[in-house]
């Protein structure tokens, strides 16, 4: 190797966001929680609100938010993060409140809480991670499990005659008046990561502007419980999840009703 070229200073194009704690991730190989955590941290950094931000963690793999986000964090009971965030919001009107919830948490046991929190137009940001199963408990059927998908509680595949249909939360919540922003992203490839970064940022922006609730659903791989290798899991997000759960913005209010 030639020695006469000057050595280039190594430089990180995307340094670790200040809000993301420098700690090895304990999520499974190929899990997307790490990427989504980072995008949330980037949004908090972008608006420079780390010291004003309070996260509400939920139950499931997403509870470990508190191990990675360098903000105050409250742990809520299963499904109740948005109700706890409501109590936080009302008590601390000048703080930035965000929840981070999985699909079992938000779309099953916490359905009542998220619908009414959204309907009240609480100015909070909700990051909803949809990996089409209950990850932490070992891969049971979630409301988001695709038809035909095998889980430990649908060993023969999800059958709509027994289990109903996969639920599209981002579209459903977009119908509620209190929701300022509702969108769905994915992090299975760089272009989608970049797009989702914008969506999460906007979900914080509508809160900061007092327009209403910001909601972002993020499709996520769960290789361990899907029984796939990480690369196969990424492929599944593209080929099976995105066709049923289309990426995009379903609602984006420019100003609050009361303005």
């Amino acid at each position: 190797m030639s020695q006469d070229k000057p050595a280039r200073e190594p430089r990180l194009v995307n340094p670790r966001p200040r809000t993301l704690i420098d700690r090895p991730s304990h999520f499974c190989p190929g899990c997307h929680h790490g990427i989504i955590h980072r995008l949330v941290a980037e949004a908090i950094d972008y608006f420079n609100v780390r010291e004003r931000a309070i996260g509400v963690a939920s139950v499931g793999c997403s509870v470990f938010l508190y191990d990675f986000m360098d903000t105050d964090v409250l742990e809520a009971p299963h499904g109740r993060a948005s109700a706890a965030a409501t109590g936080m919001r009302r008590a601390l009107p000048d703080k930035v409140i965000y929840t981070y919830q999985g699909d079992g948490d938000l779309a099953a046991i916490g359905t009542a809480e998220i619908i009414h929190t959204a309907n009240r137009g609480e100015t909070i940001s909700v990051v909803f991670v949809n990996n089409t199963n209950y990850g932490m408990t070992g891969g049971q059927m979630a409301p988001t499990t695709l038809l035909g998908q095998k889980t430990t509680t649908t060993p023969y595949g999800r059958d709509f005659r027994r289990d109903g249909y996969p639920i599209r939360m981002a579209e459903m919540l977009a119908t509620l008046e209190g929701v300022a922003f509702s969108a769905r992203g994915a992090v299975n490839k760089p272009a989608n990561v970049r797009r989702t970064r914008e969506l999460i940022r906007r979900a914080f922006e509508v809160q900061l502007k007092g327009i209403g609730l910001g909601f972002v659903e993020v499709l996520s791989a769960c290789p361990t419980d899907w029984g796939l290798k990480p690369l196969e899991a990424i492929k599944r997000v593209e080929e099976e999840l995105i066709p049923y759960y289309p990426l995009g913005i379903f609602k984006d209010k420019k100003e609050a009703d009361h303005l």
Partner: protein, 350 residues
């Protein structure tokens, strides 16, 4: 100066007086006066009243506001309190203080709306999951609805623990003269644990999940130590003519109120009868009962249920003295008249 006030309103007034500015609730009879009072009064003083989508939502809103270091209260009745048990368990595990008021109605299930003491086990045994305790105060007058609610906020904040005020539909719906004076608020530690954003300090966390090696073990013993402190300092009871009593009637709340009249009537007949009224149901005044067991010849437990507190009396008194039980499970027109309790006193008098 005293004012004629309804029991439920007295609770709402005490909350305001104690500095509570956050209330989340859901309609259920017979406690509706409390949310209605606060829905009317809170907006005038900058408080937050919010009607939640369910008691599950409401208790978690309380959890959120209390985690932010604010004084918060919730009230409900039987079925609603059942739905809150999850949140109460989490708040106990995360050491988040708040006041939970149960204006008991009758159960099990939908039961009825008449006064009852059927939630004694639920309140005193920690109706939710896990190894925790909550202090429980049982008023037996409108004055005590006020005083004990005021006290409950201090006890909650002092120990960072949810506190239950256990009343019932009779106490909630009746009017009595109320003296609004109260003892000064306790000196309380600053809420340095509250989540308010990490400006100027390290980020903080309120949680009840402990997965590390022996972490939960330590957490549970730490809680236990706190509960021991509560036991040593927060026991409350009232005694009426117990000194020379051969028969001690043991009752709390509404049942104690009715029993008090019966005890006085019994004295007029020359029967040596006294009343022992636990005010803190947890911690239970077992030591004092144990002492009374040395002088009294028998006990009569009166409850508006089929027998719940009687178990605590049995544990305190032991097997040496007979313990009689007179239970009046709830239902329309089921409240006992003093004469009915007097009949029981005559029947079991040693």
């Amino acid at each position: 100066m005293k004012k004629l006030i309804k029991g439920n309103d007295a609770i709402a007034m005490a909350a305001i007086e104690a500095g509570c500015r956050f209330y989340y609730g859901y309609p259920i009879t017979p406690q509706n006066d409390i949310p209605e009072y606060l829905a009317r009064e809170f907006p005038k003083i900058g408080g937050t009243f919010l009607q939640a989508e369910s008691e599950i939502g409401a208790i978690n809103m309380i959890l959120g506001s209390a985690a932010a270091g604010k004084r918060a209260m919730i009230s409900s009745s039987g079925p609603g309190i059942s739905l809150m048990q999850e949140g109460i368990s989490y708040m106990s595990g995360s050491e988040i203080p708040a006041v939970i008021v149960n204006i008991q109605r009758s159960g099990p299930g939908l039961g009825g709306i008449s006064p009852s003491q059927g939630d004694y086990f639920q309140a005193t045994r920690g109706g939710g999951h896990g190894d925790y305790r909550t202090p429980v105060f049982a008023p037996s007058s409108v004055q005590e609805m006020y005083d004990l609610t005021f006290l409950a906020f201090d006890v909650a904040d002092e120990y960072r623990n949810p506190v239950v005020v256990l009343a019932d539909g009779m106490l909630g719906q009746m009017k009595e003269p109320l003296d609004l004076r109260h003892p000064p608020q306790r000196e309380l530690p600053e809420k340095t644990w509250a989540l308010t954003g990490c400006a100027g300090r390290k980020p903080q966390l309120l949680k009840s999940l402990y997965l590390g090696h022996r972490e939960l073990d330590k957490h549970c013993w730490d809680l236990w130590k706190k509960y021991q402190r509560i036991i040593s300092r927060e026991i409350r009871f009232e005694e009426v003519e117990t000194k020379d009593a051969d028969l001690v009637v043991v009752a709390f709340g509404s049942a104690a109120r009715i029993s008090k009249t019966a005890v006085k009537d019994a004295r007029k007949e020359g029967l040596k009868v006294g009343l022992f009224r636990p005010i803190s149901l947890w911690p239970y005044p077992e030591q004092r009962l144990e002492e009374l067991a040395k002088t009294a010849k028998a006990f009569l437990v009166v409850e508006l249920n089929t027998g719940q507190m009687v178990e605590d009396v049995k544990m305190s008194v032991g097997k040496d003295k007979p313990i009689h039980f007179y239970g009046r499970p709830p239902g329309a027109d089921a409240l006992p008249m003093p004469i009915e309790i007097l009949d029981q006193i005559r029947e079991v008098y040693p």
